[in-house]
Point group: C2
DNA sequence: CAATATATATCGTTAAATGATATATGTCAA
DNA sequence: TTGACATATATCATTTAACGATATATATTG
């Protein structure tokens, strides 16, 4: 993708999207991985490398923030800014689906 | 994105998604660029570098095929296989939106 | 005739995702 | 108790995707 940072455009990658969604409730990394696999019913899974790389990026962009931290577990939660970008991205994705449905004969697919 | 070819996973990138959508009607590259900008009302634009790189990839994967070709313009159209992958991808994207709406309080956003 | 739009193409760079791998603790059954 | 497996975090190096910059050529039009 790339050459232009997706966050600077206010767009989320699929992985960022699901990680932010997971952190609407405070969780630590390992739980995030499990959560993503669960809500997508296995359609998407994020391994530790992707996980911690993306967590770092989201922290840096202040879309998530650290919390308490029980022992060596590090908890994170979405920020106000993160939630705002997430809801915008849901709308962007909804618009893509609507664009497609308008062109394909998929009006009945809902 | 990466490290595993998205097409091998049967997933389309945003750019591939819109290019395939454009080619549900036969068009040449330049028209595809304009079409994408139009249907997205400027939300997304694809420049020539991305355009021709992706066209090549879609041809190679047989999701699109060349057509007649009026003069030096090269026309392409989606294949049966391409249409099948595109409709699957619309469903995948719709599922992502639904996952998000189930978790956020966005039920009324439609 | 010069500027702009149409049309296609490639090169090299940046960013994203992740396989592989490492480390450490906790849990549980043989 | 020890070996296997789950929990938990972390980094490195590689592959793929997207695209800015740039080049080329023709057509249109003011």
């Amino acid at each position: 993708m790339p050459r232009t940072d997706s966050l600077e455009l206010g767009e989320l990658t699929d992985s960022m999207f699901y990680i932010l969604l997971a952190l609407t409730t405070p969780r630590h990394g390992y739980l995030v991985m499990q959560f993503v696999e669960e809500i997508t019913r296995g359609r998407m899974q994020i391994g530790p490398a992707s996980m911690y790389t993306i967590i770092k990026k989201l922290l840096n962009a202040e879309l998530i923030e650290p919390m308490d931290g029980d022992g060596k577990k590090k908890n994170y939660q979405i920020t106000r800014k993160g939630r705002s970008i997430l809801t915008d991205d849901v709308k962007r994705r909804q618009a893509m689906v609507e664009d497609a449905c308008a062109i394909l004969d998929m009006e009945g697919s809902r």
